[in-house]
């Protein structure tokens, strides 16, 4: 699928930056350079090297309360500013080649003022210029962020979900193992890379220049169909590095030697490995931890060398996922990459409705609104180690 990429606010811009980097690095040409980064703070643009200068859009530089200095975490102010800059926003949209692309993806940190406030306004305006879906890509605030961010995110999520055609959420907290790995803020770059791998494995499907023709082809219409439910989506991912030495040649050798043993390495058949990979993708770390049983639809992408993609393992993995999610619509496709050194499974869960992290965010938001600060995650983590 080809899509335009729009970042709003700091976290959104950094994701666009990372996605663009991954696009160049992996040869998945999905955006064709259709990018925009919106911000209310002039200084934010300094960190970008992949997003060209003419795609940096400063909002509210003439607004009396801002003047290029940001909205100070005020989502309502940011939404106001975006509305006032309507003409400017529409003019910038001309730089996106939306008519030759399948969709638009708007990335934003929901806790930030600009991402959380201007983000939904920009989604709303994009909806007026294209018949194609406009998806949100939202980053939830960390538990260590102030309560105000939780309030922003809880309110912004409502708008994002109602206005866009579906929102894929990233929860950085679930990827962070306490203090051992240092402050979460130091890991944003690394986490964005992990998110990019997951998101692009699904959304940039079929745009790999080197891929062979798949047996079970998935295309943009399958991604649309998976996400037409609207709501919140989460992505699971697992990959296995293939031993290059025991890889191609030994596989070839054993293939020549004996048909029945051809895929038995480490005592496990390729069918078992494929099946395990799909289960791992569904049960390990999701971009947003959630009950996969609450998912409405799902889409599985199996990507790797064709000889590592077992038909039976793939089918039984897909069937297993159908049982686990209780979903009727579980799409599945393969992406043959003949010389790849790894095989991966990526699963998009659409419209997940049991998400403890969102409930927690809402409780904090309500408390923040009524002025009673709650202890947040950071404290809970400390209390685990007396």
């Amino acid at each position: 699928m080809k899509f335009a990429l729009v970042g709003v606010g700091g976290a959104g811009g950094r994701l666009v930056e990372q996605f663009r980097h991954t696009e160049k690095e992996t040869g998945r040409s999905f955006s064709k350079g259709s990018l925009l980064a919106f911000d209310t703070q002039k200084a934010a643009f300094e960190q970008y090297s992949e997003i060209p200068l003419d795609r940096h859009v400063l909002l509210g530089d003439l607004h009396s309360g801002i003047r290029g200095e940001g909205v100070g975490g005020d989502v309502d102010l940011a939404a106001d500013v975006a509305r006032q800059d309507d003409d400017e926003i529409y003019r910038e949209f001309d730089k996106l080649d939306v008519h030759n692309l399948d969709a638009v993806v708007v990335a934003a940190g929901l806790g930030g003022g600009t991402g959380g406030g201007a983000g939904p306004v920009i989604v709303d305006r994009l909806k007026t210029i294209t018949e194609n879906p406009v998806y949100g890509l939202g980053v939830l605030p960390d538990r260590s962020e102030p309560d105000q961010q939780a309030l922003n995110a809880a309110r912004s999520l409502q708008s994002f979900v109602r206005i866009s055609d579906g929102v894929v959420l990233f929860d950085n907290d679930s990827w962070h193992n306490g203090d051992k790995q240092g402050p979460l803020a130091d890991r944003y770059g690394e986490l964005n890379r992990l998110h990019a791998t997951r998101f692009l494995s699904v959304f940039a499907l079929g745009e790999l220049d080197s891929a062979e023709i798949a047996e079970n082809t998935l295309d943009s219409s399958d991604i649309f169909r998976t996400l037409t439910t609207g709501g919140v989506a989460s992505i699971g991912y697992a990959s296995t590095e293939l031993d290059v030495n025991s890889g191609f040649f030994s596989r070839l050798l054993s293939k020549l030697r004996n048909g029945e043993k051809k895929y038995e390495t480490e005592g496990r058949t390729v069918a078992m490995r494929t099946n395990d990979l799909i289960k791992r993708a569904a049960t390990r770390q999701l971009t947003l931890p959630c009950s996969i049983a609450s998912a409405d639809r799902a889409l599985i992408v199996l990507s790797g060398p064709p000889e590592e993609c077992s038909r039976k393992g793939f089918e039984s993995g897909r069937h297993w996922l159908e049982e686990e999610t209780g979903a009727v619509e579980v799409f599945a496709g393969d992406e043959p990459r003949p010389n790849a050194s790894s095989v991966s499974a990526t699963i998009l869960f659409s419209n997940v409705t049991e998400v403890p992290r969102i409930d927690e965010l809402q409780r904090r938001a309500v408390a923040a609104k009524s002025g009673t600060p709650q202890s947040h995650g950071q404290d809970q983590r400390h209390s685990r180690q007396p």
Binding site: D124, A154, T229, G231, S310, R311, K312, F314, D334
Partner: protein, 279 residues
């Protein structure tokens, strides 16, 4: 018999041509899930009513444990092609030898002229070259009879195997309306008795008098093959399963549709609705 293939599944060809239009459809496997089953059940209905006969191919019947995705589809296509070619080539008068029991396209058309769903069975075995060629030159008459008997048994065995284990869609053979059997291979391996007893066996097994039998001599063939067309089979467990799966899927889809909006609102709003959206 000349035939052309078409990917057009809509209402079209059957109205454009006087010649019969046959459908050839692959049914989704059980493990492909509810949605493909629902699609298949729906399209099967319109397919069967629009074409003159629908030859069904069950994806599940051809799965093997160690296949890769790529191999799985390759093998399935090969199996299907072998059956179709062996069957359709029988009525084709090309440079091959003249058959003793001639079969032409009108026989195949007659067999398929039942409407409904058909299944094709196939079995083959390598030709024993010693017996096949050199054996024929022996002058000993007894030995020749023994060979004739062996060949007859072999052909009947092949036909039984084709019907009992290798059908494109598993079905109750006795529910077939009409049957056509073709033996293809080197003519010296044909035994008239074999073809005749196969035909009788099929009449009993399929419980129909409409069984056509013919041979298709292929001088240099290395295999002796039997292909059996069971026309208008009405008891096919896999079709029933797909229909049940489809009904379940449709019910489930309706349930999901009904609660979707409400569940999304539940997720994005707090319990007491104290939080308001930004936009």
């Amino acid at each position: 018999m000349r035939y052309s293939s078409s990917r057009d599944s809509g209402a079209g060809p059957e109205k454009m041509y006087d010649e019969p239009v046959y459908g050839l459809g692959v049914l989704p496997g059980e493990y492909e899930g509810g949605r493909p089953a629902l699609n298949a059940a729906r399209s099967l209905q319109s397919f069967v009513t629009k074409v003159d006969n629908f030859i069904a191919f069950d994806n599940d019947a051809w799965r093997a444990r160690d296949q890769t995705i790529e191999e799985g589809y390759d093998e399935m296509n090969k199996e299907l092609a072998t059956r179709m070619v062996t069957l359709l080539a029988a009525g084709e008068k090309d440079a091959s030898d003249v058959a003793e029991n001639v079969m032409d396209s009108s026989d195949i058309m007659r067999t398929l002229d039942t409407g409904g769903v058909s299944s094709i069975g196939y079995a083959s075995s390598p030709v024993d070259e010693q017996k096949g060629l050199l054996g024929r030159f022996r002058e000993d008459g007894d030995e020749y009879d023994a060979d004739e008997a062996t060949d007859a048994t072999k052909i009947k065995g092949l036909v039984k195997r084709a019907v009992n284990s290798r059908l494109t869609i598993p079905c109750e053979v006795s529910s077939a309306d009409r049957v056509l059997v073709v033996i293809s291979g080197p003519p010296e391996t044909f035994a008239r008795k074999g073809l005749e007893s196969s035909r009788q066996w099929l009449e009993q097994t399929a419980d129909t008098v409409e069984v056509l039998a013919g041979d298709d001599p292929r001088e240099n063939a290395t295999e002796l093959a039997a292909v059996v067309l069971l026309s208008n089979v009405t008891q096919t467990p896999r079709v029933d399963e797909i229909q049940n799966q489809a009904v379940d899927a449709q019910e489930k889809i309706r349930e999901l549709d009904e609660v979707r909006e409400e569940e999304i609102e539940d997720l994005i709003t707090d319990e007491d609705n104290e939080l308001d959206p930004v936009v």
